[in-house]
């Protein structure tokens, strides 16, 4: 069940991307991308492999610098103010890998310390979530020995650790079983209801339809469609619209 467009916040969008292009040498990865993420909403980023999704996320994280255009999170430039921006963003990569010599708890402690949080307080705050994710028994085990799904869950805990107003999730349900996926959906809805803005990339149309209020379709480095999900679909199935858009875009 997606959130209705009527519930949109009147506040300015949390993330503003304006005419952003990114080139690596002679290769153009993103071209003239403009997109805004409304606060407290869940937005899906859809696109075929190599379309530029990861590049866009890396630009938002301040790991890459846009070749032209500007992008900001809560009014802060993603690259110039990257130190502050990292306090505003929780990031979950597609395949989170952890230090082989740290336990789940130690990974969280390290990250809490690096965000300048009071370590014990930050971990205590996460306890209910750890229990909901059924991770309490695994927290003292080496994170490197976790299954793929458990690593995703630990990655999610890391992303939520510093209570960021923006969550960037790269293929978040990859490797999660049905039960965990449902739990993940519930969590995302709760986070959005609490005011967190969420953007995630996925290949699964049904997940976007179930979870997102907004979406963007990216193809060959160009955003071919953005807006409220209902507007994009226009009553048609999302998959059909996506295929049409990406085929045209390609």
């Amino acid at each position: 069940m997606s959130l209705e467009p009527e519930t949109l916040s009147p506040e300015p969008p949390l993330v503003i991307i304006e005419n952003v292009s990114k080139s690596f040498g002679t290769k153009t990865a993103l071209s003239d991308v403009t997109w805004s993420l409304p606060r407290g909403q869940i937005s899906g980023l859809l696109g075929p492999n190599g379309a530029g999704k990861t590049t866009l996320f890396r630009l938002l994280m301040g790991i890459l610098k846009a070749s032209s255009g500007c992008m900001s999170i809560a009014g802060r430039d993603c690259f110039e103010d990257r130190v502050v921006v990292k306090r505003l963003v929780g990031f979950l990569p597609d395949e989170p890998v952890f230090y082989s010599y740290l336990s789940g708890t130690e990974v969280l402690e390290l990250s809490a310390g690096m965000h300048g949080l009071e370590v014990k307080g930050a971990l205590t705050r996460l306890v209910p979530l750890i229990q909901r994710l059924n991770m309490q028994d695994a927290m003292n085990q080496y994170a490197d020995d976790y299954s793929r799904g458990m690593k995703k869950k630990l990655g999610l805990l890391l992303a939520l650790l510093h209570q960021p107003p923006l969550l960037i999730l790269d293929e978040p349900t990859n490797g999660l079983d049905v039960e965990s996926t449902r739990l993940f959906f519930d969590l995302m809805r709760e986070q959005a209801a609490a005011g967190t803005t969420i953007v995630f990339s996925t290949h699964l149309m049904d997940q976007v339809e179930r979870l997102c209020s907004h979406a963007a379709v990216i193809c060959s480095g160009k955003l071919v469609k953005t807006g409220a999900l209902a507007e994009i679909c226009g009553g048609r199935p999302l998959e059909e619209v996506f295929v049409e858009l990406t085929t045209l875009g390609a």
Partner: protein, 844 residues
């Protein structure tokens, strides 16, 4: 679909050839990628050596096989000589036989034959048996006095046995031959597809992919097991070892050549299989925290076993050490295994028998490889080891302790504590490379061994290598978990600082051993050793910081690119001055080294900080804000060095009398040129003259220029007075008094004073204030800010003056840096400098 099901599996030959082709392509890909990296860094269109890579590798590895074979044969002679030595006879070279013959009227019959024998045998014996010439001379003399001519044996008499008559060889020599066979084989076993330094390696992805094809397991398995043989040229030269060894036992001939190929190839294949078996077992059976260490150790052992034979040629001590260890084993180890490998089971060497034995061994090794890999996959494929392990609660976080305030230090310590690969990566490999450098500098080491400062200096050189090797690899240990760092505010910068701290501690531990040993050997010099140790702690801190600035982003394949040469050279600045300063007891140079290294570290960190955001985005990289600390240091260095050069040339033309005239003119000329060059460079970077001459940092309010200049003049006069007082006190030290009177004499001849005055009052204040305060202090304040920047810039300023002038010049540097920041204008600093120099010149 039915016809597909009925089709037979892909033929084994096709599977093997396809996979081996892939293995060769992988090896070529590695070399190509290295070349590409070099090309990207150097900008060179082609690497002329790239095409020669495989050929050079084949030549090098052939040399290793030949070297090991030759060592086996050659050392046998040494073993026989050592056997005589152990029985109490001293071996002397054949040409000294005349001294052992009492009838020889020119030598043996002479009354001083003992001394003459000792004089002539000492260097040969020192080379063959170790020890210094003095020790060997004393030993020969002692032997002659105690046992007369009976106490000696010539080399020819001592070396009676050869491999051609194996039955005559004493039992004590067979263990050495066995060890050399084992050495050669293990060297091959540990080679694999090449030097493996990937400590984060996961499971091999190829197997699952392979298993998804309609191929017979035996074909896929064989291809995998022989991958190392196909990829690494070191396996191809295996027959050369047998050619050398068997030629010495059976005599050279075509049948020996054929035999060597016949046994060398299967043994090399068996070694390749055994390597793969061990690798499979390590990857599948060991947890990730031990896996990297196991593979790293295999690779390290292979590297050492391959490199050591190359050193044996020039270091007979390695052979002697091996003989010392192996000869006593002959009493309880059977000789037949080594003997059968060498010559078969008959009394006299029979080639075909030896061949049968070695081929039999190859088969046994192949079976062992299959068993080891089966053992690995049996448990590993079921992933039974993959059950999560609880991490022991060590180095707890929480509270307000040091580790809670510095979470990355805790992480680094846990890495070192729990990940066995850390020891291989951070200690074993740098130490091995350091040991190779120590070998290259062995002449220096021998020379240094007798002096406390020599040993300390040698330890410092080893520590320096250690740090310079570790630094660029700082991010390699992070592996794929580096993404976490990128999500933290200033994560990468803090991570590198923590790495520098860890490397610094490790280096202190290693060099600390050298200092401790020196303390034991030279207890009387304890306070000097302590001072050098303190100097090393300060120096190594800056060196560790510099070395991590050489870090490069690890590529997706885990390889680390080579840092640009210029940056590597910059990291070494100050190293030579400190190391050689300690070795030569030139403390002036040692202090210069510490100061220069600290400032370079700050400069390199300033540049790194500007570069770091673009570590993964080099396409967007922008130059750091000018003037950087590095710009100012380069500016100062160029000015000083060019001035020295011009003065030198002028001195050569005009003689000593023209020294001060030349210095003054060159100072004016070079100062002007350096200033002009720097102004033009800075203009190009958008920095105006006003930006340099005024302190424009926020929150600084410039006072009225007149007040600031008049206060500066007063301060300069005051400081000049203090300097005079200092010189007055200093002249009570005889050495200082001598220096001062020489200086005085030089200054007051032939109008030198006026030239000196022109330089000190006319040129130096403007040029030095521009470079040291306008550029250097400003840039250092951005990096260190506060008192540290004041002290650092003043120390660097003092360093460019004679050691006697260091204290007052340091004070001027401090005062001017403070004044610049306070008044906001360089004019005040120039005024102080002129006033100070005027007072000093007038007083002298």
């Amino acid at each position: 679909m039915n016809s597909n099901l009925q089709r037979p599996p892909t033929p084994n030959g096709q599977v093997l050839s396809s996979l081996w082709k892939a293995v060769r392509q992988r090896a070529r890909g590695r070399a190509k990628r290295q070349a590409q990296m070099m090309k990207r860094k150097t900008g060179s269109e082609s690497n002329p050596l790239a095409g020669l890579g495989v050929l050079l590798m084949i030549l090098l590895t052939s040399f290793v096989h030949l070297g090991l074979g030759y060592t086996l044969v050659d050392t046998l002679e040494k073993a026989q000589m050592m056997e005589h030595e152990q029985r109490g006879k001293l071996v002397v070279p054949d040409y000294l036989n005349r001294y052992l013959d009492p009838a020889n009227k020119h030598a043996g019959a002479q009354p001083d034959w003992m001394e003459r024998l000792a004089d002539r045998a000492d260097s040969w014996r020192s080379r063959e048996f170790g020890g210094t010439k003095v020790v060997q001379r004393a030993k020969v003399l002692d032997q002659a006095r105690q046992h007369g001519r009976e106490g000696f044996i010539t080399e020819k008499e001592a070396v009676k046995f050869s491999l051609k008559r194996p039955s005559e060889l004493p039992a004590t020599m067979w263990p050495f031959i066995g060890v050399m066979f084992l050495w050669w084989f293990l060297m091959l076993v540990f080679q694999g597809e090449g030097l493996e330094m990937d400590f984060q390696r996961r499971r091999h992805p190829m197997w699952e992919w392979l298993a998804s094809h309609p191929v017979r397991p035996v074909a896929a398995f064989s291809a995998e097991m022989l991958a190392a043989f196909m990829a690494n040229p070191v396996y191809w030269g295996a027959p050369l070892f047998w050619l050398v060894v068997w030629s010495s036992a059976h005599g050279f001939g075509w049948e020996v050549l054929g035999g060597a190929v016949l046994v060398g190839v299967p043994l090399a294949m068996a070694a390749s299989c055994l390597h793969k078996g061990l690798e499979i077992a390590a990857l599948l059976r060991l947890p990730s925290r031990t896996r990297g260490a196991a593979l790293g150790l295999l690779s390290w052992a292979g590297y050492c076993l391959m490199m050591l034979p190359l050193f044996m040629f020039s270091m007979p001590m390695i052979k002697r050490a091996l003989l010392h260890v192996t000869m006593p084993l002959g009493e309880w180890l059977p000789s037949w295994p080594a003997r059968m490998i060498l010559s078969g089971w008959s009394e006299t060497p029979v080639l075909w028998q030896a061949g049968v034995v070695v081929i039999g061994l190859s088969v046994l090794m192949l079976i062992a490889a299959v068993v080891v890999s089966w053992w690995g996959t049996q448990i590993g494929m079921q992933a039974s080891h993959a059950t999560a392990t609880a991490a022991p609660r060590t180095l707890q976080a929480g509270g307000t302790g040091f580790l809670s305030r510095h979470p990355l230090y805790r992480k680094e310590l846990l890495w070192f504590w729990r990940d066995k690969g850390a020891v291989v990566q951070a200690v074993l490999i740098p130490l091995t490379i350091g040991a190779m450098q120590a070998f290259n500098l062995r002449g220096l080491a021998e020379m240094a061994a007798g002096y406390w400062n020599g040993i300390c200096g040698f330890g410092i050189i080893c520590g320096t290598y250690f740090l310079l090797i570790l630094g660029p690899r700082s991010l390699a240990s992070e592996g794929s978990a580096l993404w976490m760092t990128l999500t933290w505010p200033q994560g990468l910068e803090n991570l590198l600082k923590a790495k520098a701290q860890l490397w610094w501690m490790l280096a202190n531990g290693i060099v600390g051993i050298a200092f401790a040993a020196t303390l034991v050997l030279f207890p009387a010099d304890w306070w000097k050793i302590l001072l050098v140790a303190l100097g090393w702690i300060a120096f190594s801190r800056s060196l560790a910081e510099k070395s991590v600035t050489l870090v490069m982003a690890p590529s997706s394949s885990g390889e680390v690119e080579r840092p640009p040469a210029g940056r590597q050279w910059a990291a070494m600045l100050g190293t030579l001055a400190f190391g050689s300063g300690v070795m030569m007891q030139n403390w002036h140079a040692a202090v210069l080294g510490v100061v220069f290294s600290s400032l370079t570290a700050a400069a390199m960190w300033q540049n790194l900080r500007a570069r770091l955001p673009f570590l993964y985005d080099p396409w967007s990289e922008k130059l750091p804000q000018a003037p950087t600390l590095m710009h100012s240091m380069i500016g100062v260095t160029i000015m000083v060095e060019v001035m020295a050069l011009i003065t030198g040339i002028a001195l050569g033309i005009g003689g000593v009398d023209a020294l001060w005239k030349a210095r003054a003119i060159s100072y004016g000329l070079v100062g002007l040129l350096a200033w002009g060059g720097m102004v033009s460079f800075l203009n190009g970077r958008g920095v105006s003259q006003k930006d340099i001459w005024c302190w424009t940092r926020e929150g600084r309010q410039a006072v009225l220029p007149l007040i600031s200049v008049s206060s500066a003049v007063a301060a300069g006069v005051g400081l000049g007075g203090v300097a005079m007082l200092y010189l007055f006190i200093a002249q009570f030290f005889p050495s200082v008094q001598e220096q001062m009177s020489q200086m005085h004499d030089k200054l007051h001849t032939e109008g030198n004073w006026w030239w000196m005055f022109l330089m000190a009052v006319g040129f130096a204040p403007v040029a030095e204030e521009f470079f040291f305060r306008g550029l250097l202090f400003r840039a250092l304040d951005r990096e260190w800010s506060g008192r540290a920047a004041l002290i650092g810039s003043a120390a660097f300023f003092a360093m460019y003056h004679p050691p006697l002038a260091w204290p007052p010049v340091f004070a001027v540097g401090l005062a001017n840096a403070w004044l610049f920041k306070k008044t906001g204008t360089l004019g005040a600093c120039v005024a102080l400098h002129i006033a100070y120099n005027t007072v000093v010149m007038l007083a002298t």
